[in-house]
Point group: C2
Chain length 433, copies 2
């Protein structure tokens, strides 16, 4: 690269598979990346460019003059370019759009107008569609013409003159059909579609459920406005899984992944949760102050971390299970069924852990004290299990993200409850206070 070997650079971009070329380029700085790309055709540039990570794309567009950039934007697929423009400075986008051809500009503005996380925001307008009154032979001819500019031609959507979605056909069905048959006669009339304002996670789950390559997106008059392809759906599911994992670990979700998030943002998104959790823990300290007057047996402090951890762990487990079941759409609103099940699991786990903690405590302290420890463990585990399952369901009912009930938050709540139970058990069982 340093020697500006033009011939070599052109070969690099043209010979490699775009995804592989993009990976090599991720190692370079933005200017160098663009320099390498500038040796190939706009189509090729757009293709490789789309495979770069969004932060890398944003860094590069800042170094290119709008006029050259607009050629790349025009060649990018409709959904990829909107993903990029959404992350760019709005002023920069306006400046850029002036150089973009009229048709593409209208399409971009339309897609940019859909709310984040909606089907509209991840769909592409480059779908293959045909009328119903032509023959299979004609259909194949038209598809050949459509092919170069469509995201996929394997799923073909049949629309009437006002773009209403009236049928569906796969390319497999089309090439197996008699050339003289009418499209309208061989198409499937029952088409599974999503609405442009459906949530992207719902859409991604639908595609996974039916093993589709793509799903059509319609407006509220059932007119076809776009499609969402399997690869974008898989990406949504991965993003949602990552977001849930982050929340479970008590980290505010990162938009660009661990590696690409800048230091300050990374620290802030962790720090804010740690501060909230510290606040919750300081309440536990105050509850402890209320109960603890130094006249409680010295033995109580020994088992405090164990008692509190047991409740937190049990709660984290059931929250994890319920949050994941909600993400995979397994529960179908069976709230009572879950509550009853968790109550029973909690009872069994509580009894087992109580027995074990009695044994552990008895090795270090007298029988009465061991009874207090084991009874507290029984209660915090049973209550923690049930509450850990119910809290995410309650958040969902309130229209919030159930994953928000993170493991550390449950542990914090359980700590407070645990202190109250522990000291009350001691007071009532051996009259310590």
């Amino acid at each position: 690269l340093l020697e500006h070997d033009e011939q070599g650079l052109r070969e690099f971009s043209d010979a490699l598979i775009p995804a592989v070329a993009a990976e090599v380029l991720e190692g370079l700085d933005p200017r160098q990346t663009w320099e390498v790309l500038s040796y190939s055709s706009p189509q090729r540039q757009a293709e490789i460019f789309s495979y770069l990570s969004i932060p890398a794309q944003v860094a590069i567009v800042d170094t290119i003059e709008p006029e050259r950039l607009s050629r790349v934007i025009e060649e990018m697929s409709a959904d990829d370019r909107v993903d990029l423009l959404e992350r760019m400075d709005p002023e920069h986008v306006e400046q850029l759009l002036r150089y973009v051809a009229q048709a593409e500009r209208a399409d971009i503005r339309k897609l940019l107008s859909y709310p984040e996380q909606s089907a509209g925001s991840i769909m592409t307008t480059e779908y293959a569609s045909l009328p119903s009154d032509i023959t299979v032979h004609e259909a194949l001819e038209r598809l050949r013409l459509q092919a170069p500019t469509r995201e996929t031609i394997y799923y073909i959507y049949i629309t009437d003159e006002s773009r209403h979605l009236i049928g569906f056909l796969t390319l497999r069905q089309l090439i197996q059909a008699k050339p003289s048959a009418k499209v309208g006669d061989i198409m499937q009339r029952e088409v599974i579609a999503v609405r442009v304002d459906d949530d992207q996670e719902f859409v991604a789950n639908e595609i996974a459920r039916y093993s589709f390559i793509a799903i059509p997106v319609v407006d509220n008059q059932h007119r076809l406005v776009g499609i969402i392809t399997h690869d974008d759906a898989a990406e949504v599911l991965q993003e949602e899984a990552t977001e849930d994992a982050y929340l479970a670990g008590g980290v505010q979700p990162l938009d660009d992944g661990y590696v690409n998030t800048p230091f300050f943002e990374l620290t802030w998104k962790r720090g804010m949760w740690l501060v909230i959790l510290l606040g919750a823990a300081s309440l536990t300290a105050q509850v402890l102050q209320y109960f603890e007057h130094g006249d409680g047996g010295n033995w109580m402090i020994l088992f405090l971390p164990m008692v509190l951890a047991s409740g937190g762990n049990a709660g984290s487990q059931s929250a994890t299970l319920v949050i994941r079941a909600l993400a995979l759409d397994e529960t179908r609103g069976r709230v009572r069924w879950i509550a009853w099940r968790e109550a029973r699991v909690g009872a069994v786990l509580g009894l087992v852990l109580a027995a074990l903690s009695f044994t552990v405590a008895r090795m270090m302290v007298d029988g009465q004290a061991a009874v207090v420890v084991s009874l507290t463990v029984l209660m915090v585990v049973a209550i923690g299990t049930l509450a850990g399952a119910m809290l995410p369901l309650a958040l969902k009912r309130l229209g919030m993200d159930p994953a928000f009930m993170s493991n550390p938050l449950i542990a914090a709540l359980s700590d407070m409850l645990g202190v109250v139970i522990y000291y009350n058990a001691a007071r009532h069982l051996i009259g310590l206070f």
Copy 2:
């Protein structure tokens, strides 16, 4: 159903999209499900059957005589039936295979022989392939014949006479090419393929990375042995995300999801972790016993839960981030880079939390005690952050699953460390002991 409305039942199975029919049937018991299915053709039966969950499939096959079941098995796609057979009682499988046609039987035995979690275990042998020396016109004719029995015909693999994978072509390229062109001249020669013994998570990430509809699987002589399609890859990624979420929450992964796992298994897979964590917590009790002689200030107990929770939370955060980055293959072995980054994040977070906890403690106790609390928080947060990131990387280096270092386990380790730091800080700072 109770009235054995034969006509209605046949219409039910034939009219609905298979995935939808399967969902309706999931609500019935195994005998009823089979009764409904028995009214339609074996092809249709196999299609709907494949969309049922594996536990439901297993329950149904136990109620059908092997001869009738063998017809369904023959009609199922190669990968779906192997998923089912892997979960059935081996004796039952042997009995069943006697009724299955010779060709299918050989294929099944072959696929069953690949190790779990390998590419071979999730691939299907029903791929579309062509020789390189035919014309595009001939190729389309042959594809028409192959279409009914192939998982996909959109990706076509070109093989030589000994089945070596020598090229690749999409159906889109094929229908755009001149009918008289030779397949060998228009095919891509550089084919991205995976090995039959590659890990399924690696394969799924490859498919996602290239946005493929399918990826070819080759043996160690580069002969084509199968393909893995995008929907199966997406399922693998979802399963791996679920497994990681479970481990993070301290639950041993469930094979059948939360809803389908029986009560006993669910309780056992949670109980075993709670017991391990209780064991770890009992060590903390012993460490506490070593330090705590009742002569420590009574104030120390107040902040114990807060100090311990801070270290655990900080550790859970960095473990979560690193485990997810490893799953998404973001880190590319940059261990030092991660360590240095986490050391800095830990220092910043430790200082912020130390300042806040000093303020909190100072409201309840004297200045010296508050210094002990805040200094301990500084240390447990800084060390917890670094250790939380390094432990999963160490597990990975040892060839173990990094997700095994779950949040509760990190919290347990951090509790022990926290006690040691807390009491040592008190001893050295205000000479309490």
